[in-house]
């Protein structure tokens, strides 16, 4: 029984090692072995955009239910809309192709 148990234990160890080594076995010569990471500025803007849009949605709903009075709504909505517009503008600027690329695209279209 103890020999069988030890053999089973060894088998388990071999299977685990194979599983752990599988990324290297499957891609022995990986062209790209670098961990991807999101761009910090873009991520921060996306989070800011989502946060402000969610806050606007919440404000509209709370105003509709009566939790937010008309005065409080007016005092808050403008600033939130400006923040949302700023975040979206900043994102657009980040995602917009550089001037040289835009010029090249225009030439190609012509």
């Amino acid at each position: 029984m103890s020999t069988l148990a030890l053999l089973l234990g060894a088998g388990l160890a071999v299977l685990c090692v194979l599983w752990v080594a599988s990324p290297f076995v499957r891609e022995p010569d990986a062209a790209d072995d670098t961990l991807a990471a999101p761009e910090e500025r873009r991520l921060a803007l996306l989070e800011e955009r989502d946060r402000v849009l969610a806050a606007l949605k919440q404000l509209e709903f709370d105003h509709r239910t009566g939790t937010v009075s008309d005065d409080d709504y007016r005092a808050t909505v403008g600033a939130l809309r400006r923040q949302a517009a700023d975040a979206i503008r900043a994102l657009d600027a980040l995602d917009a192709p550089p001037a040289e690329t835009r010029r090249q695209e225009a030439v190609n279209v012509r």
């Binding site: 029984m1 103890s2 069988l4 148990a5 030890l6 089973l8 234990g9 060894a10 388990l12 160890a13 299977l15 685990c16 599983w19 752990v20 080594a21 599988s22 990324p23 290297f24 891609e27 990986a30 790209d32 072995d33 670098t34 961990l35 991807a36 990471a37 999101p38 761009e39 910090e40 873009r42 991520l43 921060a44 996306l46 989070e47 800011e48 989502d50 946060r51 969610a54 806050a55 919440q58 404000l59 709903f61 709370d62 509709r64 239910t65 009566g66 939790t67 937010v68 009075s69 005065d71 409080d72 005092a75 808050t76 980040l94 995602d95 192709p97 550089p98 690329t101």
Partner: protein, 664 residues
């Protein structure tokens, strides 16, 4: 096959060590394949631990007394279901369960946590690997469940009070809660190690945190139900250190679940949230230490026991590591937004946080003080329920009130005019409830009356939120009221699931207050044929019965019960004597009234040879609401955890890769 169990644990230890070091190397050098390999090691560690767990369960099922662990915790006569529960009944087995749940939850959270991003995940794996290494080391080198001996003819058996159906579910639920809190902590540390202050770690761990918190909550309620029915002292929570051990991380996690919403909505409290996840995980480790080290019963057990020092060292390491990361990453975590008004939703969340953490820390001090007192001054001190009750009242009542106030106040700011309008109906409900209760005689306990008035305020506030939200959805085009209600919940599951959980807390408070502040207690010695009264109930002690069960001798006093002249049948209260374990247990009689939620609770405290029995009788109004609260809590947690496809789509666009020129 103890050799297989031992080998599997050694393999699990090796894999955990690999996940720690290879994972850290991969994250530091940004090596993708090595990071995936470390993730695989975490999953493989789970598989190896599962093999070890299967070996132990098989030994318990076969009653293989050559395993020291099996011989110490079960007997041959023990019913199968309890033999299996012995897996977590002893120290070695429960540590193995910790490792099993940790590697399982960790591997799943990493596999399904892509929203955290590869950079954060890469650092989370070694953190989880480090925790797994500690527990694997404990079960391999310090407290192995696979030690063997020449099989004795009979095992030591199981403590009688553990031979209860609630013990099948209560400990695993608590462990899922304790261990589950490792997930948000590991992701938070992963984010700090990756020098990322964004919300990806929060988004990726949101459901895992809710799951751990829900398990911890349900586990505690199951433990309370077990104490109520099995321990037989007339209550369900005694502020015992081991009970407090589960309550403290639950309170810290509750605070975190609220404060994390401020980070998501306003981008604030980043440092505080890391502190809270660390506190919750640190307290879950401390809870395991308290439960397992024997430190609570005797300080000397701590000094002599093999596990206590290891746990203290590991807890210190976790706290030091978390604080180091927190302080070195402080500039990253600074908020750019500020609290706009002290009268706002986020401000009420902040007050709620302060109260929850203050309550948690006062409980911690109550648990630590006797340990420190004995360790430092050699004096045995105990902190009684009075200490905890004082702080429960001091922090609990304002917390209850805040549960009603929070939903009525808007985010960012609220004017007096808006507050007046939104508070009107809940306040009216509270005043009406107070007047009615006063008329019914609830003024006998001013504290109870205040708590019930606050409960009415909270329920009024929750009902108002649902009613106004449904009306607004209907106005927005929902075809029916039912459809409007469904849309309301579906569009903001966390908010409305949270309200259901708040309703559960209110039910819990109603049950606790009713069964403690308004209970009736009578004690009397009766001979067969004699009568006693308790509240509206009349009890006639008819006879004493004796019976031999599979693993115990049973003695039961048979009592006839009537109320207002109406016969309510018979109940049996007595004791079980367990010959193998050489122990006795109280087997209480409980008669529940499903309409009023009241219990008649009878303890046969002392049974004399001449058949005289000393009875303790409790009439506990509304106590069954405590258990109903558990069901409502589960419902609320499920609503809050249920996946939201709209949110998933929004997060997917956030995680999408930017255009090629933006990446260049």
């Amino acid at each position: 096959m103890p050799e297989l169990g031992r080998s599997a644990l050694v393999v699990a230890l090796g894999l955990a060590v690999y996940a720690t070091f290879a994972g850290a190397l991969a994250a530091r050098r940004r090596k993708r394949r090595l990071a995936v390999s470390a993730q695989n090691a975490l999953l493989a560690a789970f598989a190896a631990t599962a093999v070890a767990a299967a070996v132990l369960v098989a030994a318990l099922v076969r009653r293989d007394l050559s395993f020291v662990y099996v011989a110490q915790h079960i007997s041959r006569e023990l019913p199968l279901r309890y033999a299996i529960t012995a897996f977590w009944g002893g120290q070695e087995g429960s540590l193995l369960l910790w490792l099993l749940v940790l590697t399982g939850l960790g591997a799943a959270a990493v596999a399904f946590g892509r929203r955290a991003g590869p950079d954060v995940i890469a650092w989370t794996v070694p953190v989880l690997g480090g925790v797994a290494t500690f527990f694997a080391l404990l079960v391999v080198a310090i407290e192995s469940p696979f030690a063997t001996q020449a099989a004795p003819p009979e095992g030591a058996g199981m403590t009688p009070s553990l031979q209860n159906p609630y013990m099948i579910a209560h400990p695993p639920m608590l462990y899922l809660g304790y261990v589950g809190l490792a997930i948000p902590w590991a992701f938070a540390m992963g984010a700090l190690l990756a020098r990322r202050a964004d919300e990806r770690w929060i988004v990726a761990t949101r459901r895992w945190t809710l799951l751990a918190w829900a398990f911890l909550g349900v586990g505690q309620l199951l433990g309370a139900k077990w104490a109520y029915e099995e321990v037989g002292w007339g209550g369900y929570y005694a502020w015992d250190p081991v009970e407090n051990a589960a309550l403290m991380p639950w309170l810290a996690a509750t605070a975190y679940l609220h404060s994390v919403m401020i980070q998501e909505k306003r981008g604030m409290l980043r440092v505080w949230n890391v502190v809270l996840v660390t506190l919750a995980f640190g307290l879950s480790l401390f809870g395991t230490f308290l439960t397992r080290s024997g430190v609570v019963n005797s300080i000397h057990a701590f000094a002599q026991g093999p596990i206590g020092v290891w746990f203290v060292g590991f807890i210190a390491l976790v706290v030091a590591f978390s604080l180091y990361l927190l302080f070195t990453r402080l500039p990253l975590l600074r908020s750019r937004t500020r609290l706009e008004s002290l009268v706002s939703r986020e401000a009420t969340f902040l007050y709620n946080n302060l109260l929850l953490v203050a309550f948690c820390l006062t409980i911690l001090w109550g648990v630590l003080f006797p340990i420190l007192s004995e360790a430092v001054r050699g004096e045995t001190r105990t902190i009684g329920p009075g200490y905890y009750s004082f702080f429960l009242k001091s922090f609990g009542l304002p917390l209850l009130l805040l549960m009603g106030i929070g939903p009525l106040i808007a985010w960012r700011r609220a004017s007096v005019k808006a507050l007046g309008r939104t508070f009107l109906w809940p306040l009216a409900a509270a005043v009406a409830a107070g007047v009615v209760l006063l008329a019914l005689g609830a003024g006998s306990s001013p504290l109870g009356l205040s708590a019930y008035t606050f409960c009415a305020f909270v329920l009024g506030s929750i009902a108002l939120e649902f009613a106004r939200g449904t009306r607004a959805r209907r106005a927005l085009g929902a075809s029916s009221w039912r459809g409007a209600f469904a849309q309301l919940v579906a569009h903001n599951r966390r908010r409305y699931g949270g309200y259901v959980v708040h309703a559960a807390v209110v039910l819990l408070v109603i049950g606790v207050v009713g069964s403690s502040l308004f209970q009736t207690v009578r004690e009397q010695s009766l001979r067969p044929g004699e009568t006693m009264t308790a509240g509206d109930y009349t009890l006639v002690y008819r006879k004493l019965e004796r019976r031999q069960a599979a693993n115990a001798e049973q003695e039961r006093a048979v009592l006839g019960v009537s109320r207002g002249g109406r016969d309510l049948g018979t109940i049996r209260s007595g004791k079980n004597l367990y010959p193998v374990e050489q122990q006795a247990s109280n087997e209480v009689a409980i008669r529940s009234d499903p309409l009023t939620g009241e219990d008649l609770f009878v303890i046969a405290d002392q049974i004399d040879t001449d058949g005289t029995v000393y009875f303790k009788v409790f009439v506990k109004p509304l106590v069954n609401l405590v258990w109903v609260a558990g069901l409502v809590f589960v419902l609320g947690a499920l609503v809050a955890m249920w996946p939201d496809p709209r949110e998933a789509r929004r997060l997917a666009t956030r995680a999408a890769r930017p255009p090629a020129h933006a990446r260049a």
